[in-house]
Subunit: 190 residues, 2 copies
């Protein structure tokens, strides 16, 4: 039955649960059960305990989300259209998951604040890499260097916030609006 390694299943399950319930809201035993693994396996692969597992799970989420963004960006040539495509894709995915699978790091980020926290650092890494993904696309489309990086940051922030609101209100509207407005904003710089 199991096609992937135990370690991979544990990380994937942790990522899925943390995204939906946050860090403190997710128990190690629950992760083990969801991954069809046992507690012994979890602590064998992650001697660092829950925190180390969470960091690995957040890195997993970062790459998964980056893949989604890349897919949306690659389909468009115009920068404004590319940004809108991201919003539309996120809206579709969110609805498909019954509004449960939002940003894989936000929930964990806000409840583990504090300087030097490894979990917070993993979340910051993820946000930074997504911003670079958008920035590279804008640069490829010919936007000025200085503005592309700033714009990319705001694009990520807006998608983040709109996605959270979409989850809470169980509606695609926030993300679709964000796409429209962001694409207008980007177009105003071309």
């Amino acid at each position: 039955m199991q096609t992937s390694s135990t370690r991979d299943r544990i990380v994937a399950a942790a990522s899925r649960l943390i995204r939906r319930q946050g860090y403190t809201g997710t128990g190690v035993k629950q992760i083990a059960k969801e991954a069809d693994a046992t507690l012994g396996s979890v602590y064998h692969f992650f001697p660092g305990g829950k925190e180390a597992l969470a960091v690995a799970a957040l890195e997993h989420g970062r790459e998964q989300f980056a893949g989604l963004l890349r897919a949306a960006l690659d389909g468009e040539d115009d920068p404004a259209a590319a940004v809108d495509a991201c919003a539309c894709l996120l809206a579709r995915e969110l609805r498909a998951s019954d509004w449960t699978d939002g940003c894989p790091v936000t929930a964990a980020a806000l409840e583990t604040l504090g300087p030097g926290n490894p979990i917070q650092r993993a979340c910051a890494d993820a946000l930074y890499s997504w911003r670079n993904l958008i920035a590279d696309k804008l640069l490829d489309c010919g936007l000025p260097d200085a503005e592309a990086r700033d714009l990319a940051a705001t694009v990520v922030h807006t998608l983040e916030g709109a996605q959270a609101t979409a989850q809470v209100t169980r509606s695609e509207e926030p993300l679709l609006l964000a796409g429209r407005h962001l694409s207008r904003l980007v177009a105003s710089y071309t």
Copy 2:
């Protein structure tokens, strides 16, 4: 010593702690200690338990945050400047609290998803009331009705996302950028 009622102190403490640590990350005993109250008092005022207390705390946070937005909006006549003022004020408050006091509902919202959840509903109420606050200001400034409401939604989402990123990266930059871009977006509709 105590200048306010026990109930008020409990709600304020709950709001403060939930904002920083999320819902599951905050214990009832911790709330009682922070409020200089006892467990008996907490369950006396909130027979509904932790969940009912959280709903009251989120409503408290909603009003507090609304006051902040009103203060920023009232100081400006131009809609674009008003939106930027919100971002700047949030950045200042966030830095003053050492990046701990962000949005009072986001952290709780994302870890309590699920249809019919009272906590999620309280969060949705808060987002909706903030959106209306912004929308009223934009309408007062003469923006067309249809666009004002949509714009207000995106303003709230972007501030929300930028604030979260600012907390995680411990930097004002995300909020200041958001202010600049939002104000440009609003100006493009006048």
